[in-house]
Symmetry: C2
DNA sequence: CCCGGTGATTGGTATAGACCAGAAGTGTGC
DNA sequence: GCACACTTCTGGTCTATACCAATCACCGGG
């Protein structure tokens, strides 16, 4: 079929992974071992592995090796179920680590919310896991007036839950953007992956039912851990 | 800053591209030329170029060279504006080439629409362009009863327009899924890109206002040509 | 002036080997 | 039994080179 050797290799690896997934417990043998088994060089082998990485079948943890990717998380950005809820609803274990809490300006957030560039925000940066694999990092930029003591009380719980229960905010209007990206060195390091790993960038600008800005957030997902799903039912 | 040379190279290329975009008319110099200019090998140079490719700044047309990528098309999958409409609305030129018209079974489509595996469909495969760059290929699988003479009359126009105007179908309920992918050798060839190029796969199952299945479609986009945008306003 | 042949150019693929830095595993001494 | 230093393993990066096949630019013939 395909003339290129690395494409044949890709197929052979695919079946090999399929057959040995259980025995390997999720981690592939070392590149040098695989290269020898297929009588080729690491360069060519890595080209084949990168192919499978692009498909989302395997991924690598920086300098630790290649791993078989778990099933993608199904995610509907149009609903406002929190991360913890929909991860659990899919029978998986969510976890969140707070990386930073601070007050800062952030012009991109200000612009997305229609505020002046020097508008200060309460910034929360956190990393989120599914079954102990870090799948995304995100930054949240909350308008201080909407959640005055946020930085003092926040400890990793659902932000949307807090906004609703403590401050009574309706997250009524959302403007969402999604683009594929290569993870920045910073994001990559926080996710323990190689710089430039393929990712998906999701941004949201959120307003309440009176069009007052509430918050802006930027999510950086590993590209292979996500399946976006939207269900729409009849209008127009 | 970044230790790795190819990451420095990436930055240098970024500014170089910025400065010379106009003069180069969208096409980068040959790899060998660039490699020599930066006193490195093609292998390393390609690593840096791949980095920029992942970011969506440049792309390659198979065996023809590297090109500067145009701005992403903004696309809202929740609205039912046709491709031609929203491309023009962004001041750009749409074009469609029909690649295939046939009657066939297609189990994945059948399953997505809740029909038996041996359900026949009217299959349309087409390639779509923005400003003469092929940005996606797609397959449409239409339930024959909903559009009897489709294969005879179809000639590249808007399918949704046809369904609405000729057969009076309401495309009321949609189930949409989006996942990142590596383009299959077939898709890649039809888009004139290297096999395994990063892409975005968008699937839709469409039902009318009485929940009768109408059609299923599979789009394969080049990852760098798309920005998904969704605007939601208040309910709940 | 159009067409087709031809050769140079260019990206795609592959080999062989090397060094480095981070991660993991090992062992030693307290 | 635990903390820490050391060694080994592994992926990440890089050099230098080679050949092939598709493409492109050029040129000559009809």
């Amino acid at each position: 079929m395909s003339d290129a050797y690395y494409l044949q290799l890709t197929e052979q690896l695919r079946t090999l992974i399929d057959q040995n997934a259980a025995q390997w417990k999720g981690k592939l043998p070392a590149e040098r071992v695989l290269a020898e088994r297929f009588a080729t060089t690491r360069v060519t082998l890595r080209q084949a592995l990168s192919q499978l990485e692009g498909e989302g079948l395997i991924h690598r943890s920086n300098r630790r090796g290649w791993f078989i990717s778990p099933a993608r998380l199904v995610y509907d950005p149009t609903r406002d179920a929190g991360f913890n809820d929909y991860v659990r609803a899919q029978g998986r274990q969510p976890r969140t680590a707070v990386l930073k809490l601070e007050a800062r300006v952030h012009p991109p957030a200000a612009r997305a919310l229609g505020l002046p560039d020097d508008q200060p925000f309460q910034h929360i940066r956190r990393r989120r896991y599914v079954d102990d694999r870090a799948v995304l990092v995100e930054s949240l930029w909350v308008v201080p007036e909407r959640a005055p003591e946020l930085l003092d009380i926040y400890a990793g719980q659902s932000l949307w839950g807090l906004l609703r229960e403590r401050w009574g905010h309706y997250l009524a209007n959302r403007s969402i953007r999604m683009v594929s990206e290569a993870l920045s060195p910073l994001d990559a390091e926080e996710l323990s992956v190689a710089p430039g790993t393929a990712g998906l960038n999701i941004n949201r600008a959120i307003f309440d039912d009176q069009q007052r800005p509430i918050e802006y957030d930027e999510e950086h997902w590993l590209h292979d851990s996500l399946c976006i799903s939207v269900e729409l039912s009849g209008q127009r």
